[in-house]
């Protein structure tokens, strides 16, 4: 049963086997994707025609590797920009929310807290369409009343940032709140007793204490934004993010260049995950 209790050989073996199968199930698609990125074939499938780096470096005309694929490169750049802004905004606002709900008392606090949790239970698609509608309504209203056309209110880069921010900020707030709850409030009192102002206390003591959590949450926010599909789908304008661009390619028939991009994404996210893990371990 558990480590300290005896269990039959057969039981232990079959349980172990089950978990092995589970891990195969987890990694099989990623593994196959990565391997086929190096297949010297025009299709992401077997048989194996030999090792090739064509889908990374080829410059055309028959095969265009990812490093020469301007459309996909542009999508990657867009995704990076989006993720950067989303991570920045949601980290700032999420941290404010954590302070607000953990340290302040005010009327309607519970209602506001409930609203903050709402993005957790609102499907991303709904968030996307309601923002699209609201932006459109606002844009129409402003154009009709002031005669100004605000590009922000049409599907565009900044609308995508806004849409992703609206739910990623909740995750940041929850992560930072969890850390803030473990904070010893006498440290704040001690700082105040030593003459610090409220802002001074937050800046010198509380934020320093929260720093690992804030950076960790920022990294997760970056990743969530980079990978977001559901909300982005409805808000995207002429600058598709990488997931949207990949989706269009996968839907309309694929070449191993997608495998190459996937490989880069897998390596990139694994690296980011490792760095994040390393830092969170170090703080403990």
């Amino acid at each position: 049963m558990i480590r300290s209790l005896p269990s039959s050989k057969k039981y232990a073996f079959s349980y172990g086997f089950f978990v092995c199968c589970y891990f195969v199930f987890l990694f099989a698609p990623l593994f196959v994707t990565c391997v086929l990125a190096f297949n010297n074939s025009d299709f992401p499938s077997l048989p194996w025609y030999g090792f090739s780096l064509d889908w990374f470096v080829a410059s055309g005309p028959e095969r265009v590797g990812i490093f020469n694929d301007s459309q996909n490169l542009r999508a990657i750049a867009t995704s990076f920009q989006t993720a950067f802004w989303v991570a920045l905004f949601s980290t700032i606002v999420g941290t404010c929310a954590a302070f607000l709900f953990e340290q302040e008392n005010f009327p309607f606090k519970n209602l506001l807290y409930f609203l903050m949790l709402a993005p957790l239970v609102i499907p991303g698609v709904i968030l996307g369409i309601s923002l699209l509608l609201a932006a459109n309504t606002a844009g129409t209203f402003i154009e009709n009343s002031f005669g100004i056309d605000v590009p922000l209110f049409r599907p565009s880069f900044w609308l995508v940032v806004t849409g992703q921010f609206s739910f990623i900020a909740t995750f940041v707030a929850l992560v930072v709140s969890a850390r803030l709850r473990k904070f010893d409030p006498t440290l704040e009192e001690a700082a105040m007793n030593l003459g610090a102002t409220r802002l001074g206390v937050i800046w010198h003591i509380t934020l320093k204490y929260l720093r690992p959590a804030i950076f960790g949450a920022g990294a997760v926010a970056f990743l969530m934004s980079f990978e977001n599909f559901n909300t982005t789908l409805f808000l995207v304008g002429s600058q598709p993010t990488l997931p949207i661009n990949l989706y269009l390619q996968v839907r309309d028939g694929s070449t191993p260049v997608i495998n190459a991009i996937s490989l880069l994404l897998i390596v990139g996210t694994f690296a980011l995950a490792m760095v994040n893990l390393y830092f969170s371990k170090e703080k403990d």
């Binding site: 010893d184 006498t186 009192e189 007793n193 030593l194 003459g195 610090a196 204490y209």
Partner: protein, 360 residues
């Protein structure tokens, strides 16, 4: 002498519950003042009001004549050593000590000089670059005190800072704190539930119970002349009897205890024949096998067991009516013959006991 801290009719209510109830006291400049009471008696609330973390419901707090109402905690000339010290774990020792000075915008050369000086003074020279988690319990204690003293507060408040230390270190720190206070001359207000800490260190002690003050006095006064039953029981150990007064002339009374002993003693306050009284008797005032029994209240007890504790050894004895009685056992070899199970005679002088009229 001027008072550094004056508290007048201070009240703090949480809903219907009075945590601090009509408390008044003065702390003279440069003294070591302790507030002693069981946990939950309101002493921490009192201290937090002085520091400015709680607002009094009514009453006033004055620090060197200046009223503290409406003054924010970061503006008050008092500093607090927290129960769990609250040293900033993300800073080293020097940064912790410099924290308050930096908030006052002191220039960095002065900060450096003062930090080194104060570390020297608390006996931690050269520890500035150490991380907080590298320090021992006693060293943390001293950093926490140094962090406050460097700001030269008029009053230093200490909230049971020795509570987290182990026994040996606590004994040592008691003496050190007392010495440190004498050296720096800052007024210390120390709160504790440990009567021995209060007795050893303080110039004056206020005993607090259920939000109210029972008695203020020197350690000797509290121990020798407690004014209330609570103080008599809380400060030091006591044997207790209750009984009825059978004779009375002025302060001298004769009392018959519930188990039938007749004792001569002295009453605190007034009492009449027929009223009930409680008698408190310290273990060290009971003499074993007294030679001169003339003036003493004498009776026989059975030794149950010997509670050997070095210089603080005692006999646990019982009267024929199974009333337990602690008797001090001096370790001068003259009572080595006493064994458990033995019957011995004990006696005490009528002036040695403290007697109050029973309440209710």
């Amino acid at each position: 002498m001027d008072n550094d801290l004056s508290v007048l009719n201070l009240v703090k209510k949480f809903g219907d519950f009075s945590a601090v109830d009509q408390v008044t006291f003065d702390v003279p400049q440069g003294s070591f003042f302790s507030i002693l009471g069981p946990s939950g008696c309101g002493k921490t609330t009192l201290l937090r009001m002085v520091a400015g973390f709680e607002e009094p419901t009514s009453g006033s707090i004055q620090i060197r004549g200046r009223d503290m109402a409406g003054v924010a905690p970061n503006q008050r000339p008092v500093n607090l050593v927290f129960q769990h010290l609250a040293l900033f774990p993300m800073m080293n020792v020097a940064e912790n000590i410099a924290f308050g000075l930096k908030r006052r915008k002191v220039d960095s050369a002065t900060i450096k000089k003062q930090t080194e000086e104060i570390l020297e003074r608390v006996g931690l020279p050269g520890y500035g670059q150490q991380r907080i988690n590298q320090l021992s319990g006693g060293q943390k204690q001293r950093v926490a005190i140094a962090r406050c003293l460097v700001l030269e507060p008029l009053v230093l408040l200490l909230d049971e800072p020795l509570g987290a230390l182990d026994l040996k270190l606590r004994e040592q720190m008691k003496v050190e704190l007392k010495k440190l206070q004498a050296k720096v001359g800052t007024t210390f207000v120390y709160i504790t539930h440990d009567q021995s800490e209060a007795l050893v260190m303080s110039d004056r002690i206020a005993v607090m119970n259920k939000g109210r003050y029972e008695q203020i006095g020197t350690p000797q006064e509290l121990y020798g002349k407690p004014l209330t039953p609570f103080v008599a029981q809380f400060v030091g150990d006591n044997n207790v009897w209750s009984g009825e007064v059978v004779e009375q002339s002025g302060k001298n009374i004769v009392m018959k205890t519930d188990e039938g002993f007749v004792f001569r003693t002295v009453i605190q306050g007034s009492i009449a024949v027929g009223q009930h009284a409680d008698l408190y008797l310290r273990p060290e005032t009971i003499r074993i096998q007294p030679a001169d029994k003339e003036a003493l209240n004498c009776f026989n007890v059975t030794v149950k067991t010997i509670l050997f504790d070095g210089a603080n050894s005692r006999l646990l004895t019982v009267t024929p009516q199974e009333h337990e009685l602690l008797v001090a056992l001096p370790q001068n070899r003259s009572f080595d013959h006493i064994k458990p199970g033995q019957d011995i005679e004990v006696g005490w002088h009528p002036d040695a006991a403290i007697c109050f009229r029973a309440e209710g």
